[in-house]
């Protein structure tokens, strides 16, 4: 069982743990001697905390900088104890340590009482979803083992935790220095205390039940096809976050909405199995060769669907030195999905140590907690964190590092919501032929792709697109050029006006046409003038995202999208060569051997 120890700096976490290890005989013989020798060399009195402050900087400064993992075993079970630093400067290390824990022990100094970080750490534990919390009131020897000092802290801190929806499992008065109520009860010094010792309280924590009765969720980590030794399996791999899956189950992948049936559950060096469930790092093959990629979420067709959206209302905590701000680009990582994002709005910011709410903020400072709406560049699949933990929480990356984390409160409807619903219905009702897309790709020696060539009115997008078609055709590819104008009159809907709704409708129809042509295994080149992000979003909702390549040809002044390729000031044949190379890079066409 993983248990994290947290608390304000100098309230004695490391000492409690050191004492616990020493009294349960969990220390290697050389360790105590080694620390005693170090203390002697540095002319410091021996302290149990030094057992855990392993780094030279920590020993020199007498401060825990980073969370340490410590292993020990009680009569009941093995423990991994995480000693989290108490200094506000190292809150990110505290979060790192605490996030692995199933239960937490929070240490408060009896003499100093509840401090800022006692509250902040309590808040972070709640934000991290840790529900079992024991509170130690330490240094009871410094207050003369006074019952009322203990009870004041118990009353005040219980009231604080209640606001966070947390009910502490136990309050224990201890003195780590003297060893009171750590591994054994100190009935003589604190006859008024009838509860458990720390060791007994740890043994009393319950292992978190695995969420097996929840819907099946598995973020796809990868699809493996290792051909070495003639291995022909195509295995969808990942770790099951919740629920269970059996051979024969129908699975759907979101956000794409593709579906198939589980043919086998795969494993190496173990007897074959037809079942996998929560917590397992597993893999399965499908009845059909679907093109599924990392970042999709595998769910069971007979169970509740996840949310799919580009707008998420979330509760986040921020750890970055640079504040989280609107109008700045970030990356969100949820499950195995990884999507560029921005903060659309900050609803309110909470000071984690006082629980005071502010609604006038436009940024979230380091160590603050906030409720915001995030706007994602592409849709992802998730669940509200309150429903399914594993697929309801995420981190935010800025400048190469994780800077914050949060929980999904709800997915909000975005502009493509209705369209997406139509597409899910379409995929559900799609009549499957006996020839699947992988077989077509193999036969035609290409992967069907939509090449969207766009640009300013006066640009050479049409000439380039047509030349590209000619070049690929001459190379033996199955390719088709379709100008936006050719579709305009044939598929125009009942609106017939130039309203936004009719424009979106038109894009949707073009997308559906593209979807059919792509399903036939063809490389489709479409030209349209000045496509906007909104148009691209529609194509992404209707056609598989990973099969769209966008090319901007001509002057960039009017460009609002972030195309896969930009071409300006190049002769047509050079432009064709650049697009061709791009198609090779993305795997649509293959390089000659």
């Amino acid at each position: 069982m993983h248990i994290v120890f947290v608390g304000h700096v100098d309230h004695g976490k490391s000492t409690v743990i050191g004492r616990l290890l020493a009294e349960t005989g969990s220390l290697p013989e050389s360790k105590l001697a080694q620390v005693r020798a170090t203390c002697e060399r540095m002319s410091k009195p021996f302290e149990y905390a030094f057992l855990l402050d392993a780094l030279k900087d920590e020993q020199a400064q007498g401060i825990t900088i980073d969370a340490a993992r410590v292993f020990f075993e009680s009569a009941k079970r093995p423990y991994l104890i995480i000693d989290a630093p108490g200094h506000i400067e190292f809150l990110k290390n505290m979060v790192t340590g605490a996030s692995h824990a199933e239960a937490a022990v929070l240490v408060i100094d009896a003499k100093e009482g509840i401090q800022e970080n006692s509250r902040r750490h309590g808040y972070m534990l709640a934000a991290l979803g840790i529900k079992q919390i024991g509170v130690l009131v330490n240094k009871m020897d410094l207050v003369g083992y006074d019952q009322s000092a203990f009870e004041t802290i118990e009353r005040d801190y219980t009231a604080f935790l209640k606001q966070l929806g947390v009910v502490p499992a136990v309050f224990i008065p201890v003195s780590a220095m003297q060893g009171d109520n750590i591994a054994t009860r100190a009935a003589e010094r604190m006859p008024w205390y009838q509860g458990p010792s720390v060791l007994e309280a740890l043994d009393g924590f319950e292992e978190a039940p695995a969420p097996e009765d929840q819907p099946f969720r598995m973020p796809v980590q990868d699809v493996y096809k290792f051909t070495r030794g003639g291995d022909a399996r195509r295995i969808v791999a990942g770790t099951v976050e919740s629920g269970a899956l059996s051979v024969g189950d129908e699975v759907v992948f979101y956000p794409s909405g593709k579906r198939s049936r589980v043919r086998t559950i795969e494993a190496f060096a173990q007897p074959s199995t037809e079942f996998t469930s929560v917590g397992e790092a597993t893999g399965f093959t499908l009845d059909e060769q679907l093109y599924v990629t990392r970042g999709e979420l595998a769910v069971r067709a007979d169970q509740p669907r996840p949310e799919v959206s580009t707008r998420l209302r979330v509760s986040i905590f921020w750890l970055g030195a640079e504040p989280l701000a609107e109008h700045k680009d970030y990356v969100i990582k949820l499950g195995t999905a990884r999507v560029p994002m921005r903060v659309e709005s900050i609803e309110h910011v909470i000071d984690a140590s006082t629980l005071a709410k502010r609604e006038d903020k436009t940024s979230v400072q380091r160590h603050d907690v906030a409720e915001c709406v995030l706007r994602l560049r592409r849709p992802l699949a998730c669940d509200p964190g309150a429903a399914i933990e594993g697929t309801g929480r995420f981190v935010i990356v800025d400048d190469y590092d994780i800077r914050g984390g949060g929980i999904v409160i709800e997915a909000q409807a975005d502009a493509q919501h209705e369209l997406r619903e139509k597409v899910f219905l379409r995929n559900n009702r799609w009549e499957k032929s006996l020839v699947d897309s992988a077989q077509r790709a193999e036969r035609y020696n290409q992967r069907s792709t939509l090449v969207l060539v766009t640009g300013p009115r006066e640009g050479r997008r049409k000439e380039v697109a047509k030349a590209l078609e000619r070049r690929l055709f001459d190379e033996g590819k199955l390719v088709y050029y379709l100008g936006f104008g050719s579709v305009l009159y044939g598929v125009q809907g009942e609106h017939g006006d130039s309203s936004e709704a009719s424009h979106d409708d038109l894009m949707h129809r073009l997308g559906e046409v593209a979807h059919i042509i792509l399903d036939a295994g063809i490389i489709l080149i479409v030209t349209a003038q000045e496509l906007a992000p909104r148009d691209i979003a529609i194509f992404r909702a209707v056609v598989q995202t990973d099969r769209i390549e966008t090319v901007w040809v001509g002057d960039r002044t009017a460009m609002q999208i972030s195309p896969d390729l930009e071409i300006d000031d190049h002769a047509d044949d050079e432009a064709v060569q650049m697009i061709r190379q791009r198609l090779q890079e993305c795997g649509a066409i293959f390089r000659a051997w």
């Binding site: 392993a54 991994l80 981190v395 994780i402 984390g405």
Partner: protein, 296 residues
Amino acid sequence: MPSAQHLDELEAKSIHILREAYANFKQLGMLWSIGKDSTVLLWLARRAFFGHVPFPLVHVDTSFKIPEMIEYRDRLALKWGLTMIYGQNEAALAAGQSYPAGTVDRLTCCGLLKSAALRDTLSGRGKRYRLNHDSGAYEVDQSTEAYTGVIVGVRADEEGSRSKERYFSPRDRESQWALADQPPEFWSQYKTDFKPGTHVRIHPLLDWTEVDIWAYIKRHDIPTVSLYFDQGEGTRYRSLGCYPCTEPVSSTARNVDEIIAELTTGKFANIAERGGRAQDQADGGGLETLRRDGYM
């Protein structure tokens, strides 16, 4: 003795980490010291990738390894179809700079033959040798591309600085570790973004203890070097390194079961594993100093 459920949980987490590494790092390699930990790691990779190991195994050969270790390495590499690479600090060896040669002290020796050799092998500045599976011999590797992800089998229970490691731990251009300012890591989301020129060390075994390792070796009957077992002399190696600096321990454990008994209830229940490694004792945190500088 760790429970089956405990081992299942450790294994699932390690496999998840290995798959994250493979998905996120194009230039990925796994350090294989031939010891029990990195051999368990190798087995976990075969589990993660359904019988395949889709990245090279990298061994830093100090030239002072016990000969049986090298034989065992090449035997398994051929049998399991592994992409096997080794590198060494040829300049230092040619100049006779080593502790066994009596020219430098222990820490300097580790710094040259392990840390520097590792750094140069990973960056591609040093020569790499690749096992040719047809001939069974090593040839100079044509690839000199730097590894951006390096999987290492260190465990948190081994030593203080390792107890504070991340699963995905960044290293700068010179392989240096900024251990006072590590990025946060939570909810199975890891540091998979990195600046050009830097690399990330990946540690799937952090939560494993020595006895977990042996229990897992027993579960899967994973082949290990015979040096870990008493051959009738009343000694065995508990931790493997270079022969001049690694002492066998006195023990009569002849098989995996006896080792597990020795670690759980027997004579080693309270004695640290790296007790036989001389470089750790060389100064007040020898290993921390080495590790800041790029050591495993």
